[in-house]
């Protein structure tokens, strides 16, 4: 059942603007990243759980990698609290306005810089980019097999067994390692932070020199990435135009806090439910 040696496990996480809070929303609906509240991409919590589960079940070391401006170190600290072993932040002004291709290129260079790996976990998608492309694009650069939409997996010897979602069913997969896996949000939710992890992070924050050894910040030169392939220059796509979409968001007529029968009377009166009844 169990697999032979401890594994080198990488997990990729991104810091995204918290869209639940209205702070940092420009009048045109775009996000002002400097003012917006920040959070760990919700989908990456499942990837983190998959990485930590692998370590717990089969042994190994978890490296958490992120690309973003300096505040993104917050998500690496959060990952440390959950029990990852080290964090690497790729941060460089020349990465601004990277699309998924440029992002995948920069992360690919960072992964090579981080050394040997058996498994790479990504979230299914981000809530800001919302493309689900970075994972497979990275796998292509790294020439790896991939399992996207992975709901469940186990290691058996030097093989990975995985189940992936498809329309109307699933696929049962057996693959060699190394492999890249994007974890679906139907995988197990992230467990609570460990007491040890929280304590460790508190200690590290009081000892910046030690913190630097656990979370390293690197730039394009450190990882040997070509700046021409990053940022705006390295991005084959641009957002040429955005427009606000009217109906979605906040137009729901809410009925709450009243007596049940009153709410139901109201909704039947206000909506067009009656039009579809048997008689009419």
């Amino acid at each position: 059942m169990s697999s032979s040696n401890p594994k080198d496990i990488f997990v990729l996480v991104k810091q995204v603007p918290d869209q639940g809070s209205k702070a940092g929303l420009n009048p045109d609906g775009t996000i002002d990243r400097a003012r917006a509240k920040r959070m760990l991409n919700p989908f990456d919590r499942y990837a983190l759980q998959a990485a930590l589960h692998t370590k717990k079940a089969y042994g190994g070391r978890v490296t958490c990698i992120s690309m973003g401006p300096p505040p993104a170190v917050e998500v690496l600290l959060e990952a440390l609290e959950h029990g990852v072993d080290r964090g690497v932040l790729l941060s460089d002004k020349r990465l601004a306005a990277s699309d998924t291709l440029a992002t995948a290129y920069a992360l690919y260079k960072t992964i090579l810089y981080c050394g040997h790996f058996d498994l790479i976990f990504c979230g299914l998608q981000t809530t800001d980019g919302d493309t689900a492309q970075v994972g497979p694009q990275l796998a292509e650069r790294l020439n790896l097999p991939q399992v996207t939409y992975c709901e469940d997996f186990s290691l058996e010897g030097d093989k990975v067994k995985a189940r992936r979602i498809i329309e109307g069913g699933c696929q049962h997969i057996i693959s060699d390692m190394p492999i890249l896996i994007t974890v679906a949000n139907s995988y197990h939710p992230l467990e609570y932070k460990s007491f040890r992890g929280t304590w460790k992070v508190q200690w590290l924050q009081r000892h910046p020199e030690d913190l630097k050894k656990v979370i390293t910040t690197v730039d394009l030169d450190t990882v040997g990435a070509d700046p021409e392939k990053c940022g705006l220059k390295g991005s084959p796509t641009i957002v040429a135009h955005t427009e606000k979409v009217g109906e979605i968001g906040g137009n729901c007529k809410m009925f709450e806090g009243q007596a049940i029968s009153d709410m139901v009377v109201n909704i039947i009166e206000k909506s067009n439910v009656k039009e579809y009844l048997k008689i009419s």
Binding site: G168, H172, V245, K253, M263, I267
Partner: protein
């Protein structure tokens, strides 16, 4: 492919007026290509939708609509692709292509694209679990742009004025406009990548409109070589499990009563059926979570990996409104949500919401609707006299 970049260099004229003298780039004459999707030989509806959308693009570009089909023994499907709009169907037929697997499929697609003298101008796939697995690999291989999950496609000009990269400056006459919702659907973004072909996009299933099948349409069928390598078999599919959806009238119903995890037990669907019986042309829908739990068969599932529905009335009972559910039902004319959590995401896009327990609200709703029905019934009788 990288060095093939934009070979049409600047054909700029008018050097006097340097202010507005943007170089005008030639339109590449490549075709519009749709990569067909099949699961165990069964052609997926999104492919026909893509052919419909692709036809509109080719009509604007004056080029051909081609379709690449990978599979095994797909002769019938090939004919269907022509009936639905393809001018040329390229067929890669191989037993190893019967079941979708990333590596063999990416091999065949990349080899095929490399073999063409002119890359397609546009390449389209569905935003399905297959399309979203394959498309990014192709895009990364050719270092070209890919826009995910589009809801509209168009062709039009684009003027690039940013001087950050002078080589990109200029006017591009016929670019792919890939239009998609962003930031949780609150914005619509038009995304372009005219510098490199193919310009790629995936489109959301159920959004684009297929053409009507025309049995008299003529098209060419061309066989594509398949050269798989041992490294393409590092990953294997032991089994593909599918629950065959029977022809449930979910997609044709005027009213859908849909249940989610908030029902608490499978028995909750009995209550939903009672509510549904108030409406003549109604059906029962469900979220994936309850389908996975075995509370109701898969054929009732609405959403990204279920059915896309657009009834006149959709009543969501105990459904949180996850994006994967929303994409399957957000086009419904009226959406009513019943959920005990006032912050449930479903209230962000429903038209009417009641905050409360389904087991208190639905029985009350049934009671009141039956009264209304009776009243209306009496009125009708009075009128008919």
């Amino acid at each position: 492919m990288t060095d093939k970049e934009i070979k049409n260099s600047n054909t700029s004229q008018n050097t006097q007026n340097t202010e507005s003298a943007l170089p005008i780039h030639e339109t590449p004459r490549g075709n519009v290509m749709v990569i067909a999707e099949q699961i165990l030989g069964e052609l997926q509806p999104v492919t026909l939708e893509l052919l419909g959308a692709g036809r509109l693009l080719t009509d604007k570009l004056g080029t051909k609509l081609v379709c690449l089909l990978l599979g095994h023994n797909m002769a019938e499907t090939t004919k269907k692709l022509i009936q639905y709009g393809a001018d040329i169907v390229y067929v890669a037929d191989h037993p190893e292509l019967h079941t979708y697997r990333t590596l063999p499929f990416r091999r065949v697609v990349c080899d095929f694209l490399e073999s063409l003298s002119e890359p397609p101008h546009v390449t389209l796939l569905g935003s399905t679990t297959t399309g979203r697995d394959l498309a990014p690999r192709i895009a990364a291989h050719f270092e070209t742009g890919l826009t995910a999950d589009c809801t509209e496609l168009d062709i039009g000009p684009y003027e690039h004025k940013s001087k950050i990269d002078p080589s990109k400056l200029g006017l591009y006459p016929d670019c792919l406009y890939a239009i998609r919702p962003s930031f949780g659907e609150s914005l619509k973004a038009r995304i372009l990548g005219p510098w490199k072909n193919p310009q790629m996009a995936t489109t959301r299933p159920g959004v684009m409109i297929p053409l009507r099948a025309d049995p008299n349409r003529q098209g060419e069928i061309i066989t594509v070589p398949v050269n798989l390598k041992p490294e393409d078999f590092r990953l294997n599919v032991a089994e593909t499990v599918r629950e065959i959806a029977s022809a449930l009238k979910l997609t044709e119903a005027d009213v859908i009563i849909s249940g989610g995890f908030g029902l608490g037990t499978p028995e909750g669907f009995a209550l939903l059926r009672e509510l549904a019986s108030c409406f003549p042309n109604s059906a029962i829908g469900a979220s994936r979570k309850v389908v996975d739990l075995g509370w109701i068969p898969y054929e009732h599932q609405v959403g990204q990996t279920g059915k896309t529905v657009r009834p006149k009335l959709y009543i969501a009972c105990g459904i949180s409104g996850a994006i994967q559910h929303r994409v399957g039902m957000s086009k419904s004319s009226t959406i009513i949500a019943i959920n005990k959590d006032p912050d449930a995401p479903i209230f962000k896009f429903a038209h009417y919401g009641i905050v409360g327990d389904v087991y208190q609200i639905i029985p009350e709703m049934i009671k009141q609707l039956k009264c209304v029905e009776k009243e209306q019934g009496e009125k009708t009788i009075v009128h008919s006299h």
